[in-house]
């Protein structure tokens, strides 16, 4: 008994130590965002700011007009991409799982095949296509190429294959068409799969760096990650501003995560187990 509790104490010690390793960088950044520049530059290492101030946040919102614009751009792109993905991936996954149409097997095979292809290979050709469409520096340039996602089409197909058929049979007897059945019966019952998808797609889009870097060159059209990078270049040693900007960007994502974390875990377990 004592041996057991001893080893438990040891394990708790390790867990708490690693929690510290995880949390300290965030706390240190949060702390810097409330410090005046003088305290930052003095190199003191107090986690609690000696002269607590909101001035950094105030500065960003009042002196950096583009910051709100970047936030807005990020929100437009992430919300747009997420909504369309939910609809289109579910539709395609449902068709592949349930509807017998010529080419069904072929398209499924193709979607599984492209899952193996790394995204980088499409980056430069996508840029050339977007350039010829005249979509560089536009929301369409970031949203349209990401309207669907092969991984989640695959996931939704697996989900719908295990979906009870009886409900659809009943709907068919009631005279509902495929379309009506899908929107009125199937989609409302797919909420857990849709929740997992929402989080992964929203976070992926919100945090994406490379694609916006390639598509957006006009600072007005930057998303937040690009904006932050530009911001860092502009305020090289003003870590108080840079950290305040970082915190504004991070806290919404962390809040969403804290709220929906069990869907993250389920989704990852799924991707690892497939």
């Amino acid at each position: 008994m004592t041996k057991n509790s001893q080893s438990n104490t040891f394990l708790y010690g390790l867990l708490i130590l690693y929690s510290g390793v995880t949390v300290i960088p965030f706390l240190w950044a949060l702390s810097a965002s409330f410090k005046p520049l003088a305290e930052i530059a003095s190199g003191s290492i107090h986690f609690i700011p000696q002269q607590f101030t909101f001035a950094n946040y105030q500065y960003i919102f009042t002196q950096e007009p583009l910051f709100m614009r970047w936030f807005f751009n990020s929100a437009v792109v992430a919300i747009g991409v997420t909504l369309f993905n939910l609809l289109f991936n579910s539709m395609a996954g449902y068709a592949l799982a349930r509807i017998r149409f010529p080419g069904n097997q072929f398209w499924f095979f193709l979607i599984v095949a492209v899952l193996v292809v790394p995204g980088q290979i499409t980056l430069l050709p996508k840029f050339l296509i977007l350039k010829s469409l005249g979509w560089l520096n536009s929301y369409a340039g970031l949203i349209v190429p990401s309207l669907v996602n092969a991984t989640f089409i695959f996931m939704m197909r697996q989900f719908f294959i295990n979906f009870p058929k009886e409900l659809e049979e009943a709907a068919a007897l009631d005279g509902l068409s495929r379309l009506e059945t899908f929107f009125k019966i199937v989609l409302p019952l797919a909420k857990p799969a849709l929740a997992a998808q929402t989080i992964f797609i929203f976070m992926g889009s919100w945090n994406e760096f490379l694609m916006p870097l390639v598509v957006m060159s006009d600072p007005e059209m930057f998303t937040l990650p690009l904006g932050l990078n530009a911001f860092k270049g502009q305020y090289i040693s003003y870590w108080n501003y840079i950290m305040a900007a970082s915190m504004i960007f991070t806290l919404p994502a962390l809040a969403i995560y804290a709220f929906f974390n069990r869907y993250f875990i389920q989704g990852i377990a799924f991707s690892g187990g497939k």
């Binding site: 193709l110 292809v117 350039k131 669907v148 870097l213 990650p225 690009l226 377990a269």
Partner: protein, 298 residues
């Protein structure tokens, strides 16, 4: 399929394509077409300025790759990165998963905390770490507190890549921890019970039951780690201001591709490099899938 719908075959086909249409359209234009054009353009010289023009140059791009010193530097950085990051993050992930898989309380809370870096944007994480790595920053203060040597994390070519490695181990290990945790929970308890009856101690149980049962997952985690390393971009770009410096020490393949494409406007050559990267990644992925399938058959 409901019988009523089955009767109207052509209508089924029609609705099938109606449901698939958005996916097929987008995947054709922004996935299949880019893949095909990458395969062709990698063997061309592409003129970007003014009117876009293509000129077939055969294997010239491939030959240039072999003679390109910066390609070798990027590959060397990647190899060093794989050799250090992948084993450490795999072992760390397994260790954390093993602890969280015991019957101690508060697991959920720890899991939520550990997972925080995984959901934070790479841009923010890089900036936070650059702030910590500052020569007068938190990390050097901690190191000197324990009488350890301090470093110029951002400016010293011998150290800069290590800084990125440290950050990435920290931010990706929890992701793999979750995968391990799911796999650990699927090992049947009866295996351990049988081993206990046979008198196996904890270590023997770990080496003869846990590790072998986890081997497909370990393989998956290692392969994902290698692929992630080959795809490294954001951190190097932000860390070095896009240059891969100091002195090419943080140069990665994707960063090199980006620079050739958008600073030198050498699209054809950049695509040839992309093709090489894709071949490497797909080989590793397919290897993993083949092994994994064999595991399942046995």
């Amino acid at each position: 399929m409901p019988r009523i719908w089955q009767r109207q075959r052509s209508q089924e086909a029609l609705s099938g394509y109606f449901f698939m249409l958005p996916a097929l359209f987008i995947l054709s234009v922004f996935l299949v077409l880019p893949i095909l054009s990458a395969l062709i353009l990698a063997f061309c010289k592409v003129q970007l300025l003014g009117e876009v023009r293509y000129q077939f140059t055969g294997i010239k791009n491939l030959l240039r790759m072999i003679a390109d010193e910066r390609v070798w530097i990027a590959l060397k950085n990647t190899a060093e990165y794989v050799a250090i990051v992948v084993p450490i993050q795999t072992i760390l992930a397994l260790g954390l998963a093993l602890i969280l898989n015991t019957n101690i309380r508060g697991k959920k809370g720890f899991r939520i905390i550990f997972f925080m870096p995984t959901v934070t944007s790479s841009a923010v994480l890089t900036l936070i770490f650059m702030w910590i790595y500052n020569s007068d920053g938190l990390l050097n203060h901690i190191l000197s507190f324990f009488n350890l040597p301090t470093y110029n994390w951002l400016g010293d070519p011998a150290i800069a890549l290590k800084g990125i490695m440290l950050m990435n181990i920290w931010s990706t290990a929890p992701f793999f921890m979750v995968i391990y945790l799911a796999a650990l929970q699927e090992i049947p308890a009866s295996l351990y019970e049988a081993a206990q009856i046979d008198g196996a101690n904890r270590w023997e149980q770990f080496f003869y039951i846990t590790l072998p049962s986890l081997s497909p997952v370990t393989f998956f985690v290692i392969v994902m780690g290698i692929i992630g390393t080959f795809q490294l971009f954001d951190q190097s770009y932000i860390f070095s201001g896009g240059s891969g410096g100091p002195n090419n020490s943080t140069l990665t393949l994707v960063l090199l591709i980006y620079n050739y494409a958008f600073s030198n406007l050498d699209m054809g050559y950049a695509l040839a490099l992309t093709l090489m990267l894709a071949v490497v990644i797909m080989t590793v992925t397919l290897l993993q899938r083949t092994f994994f399938r064999e595991e399942q058959v046995h």
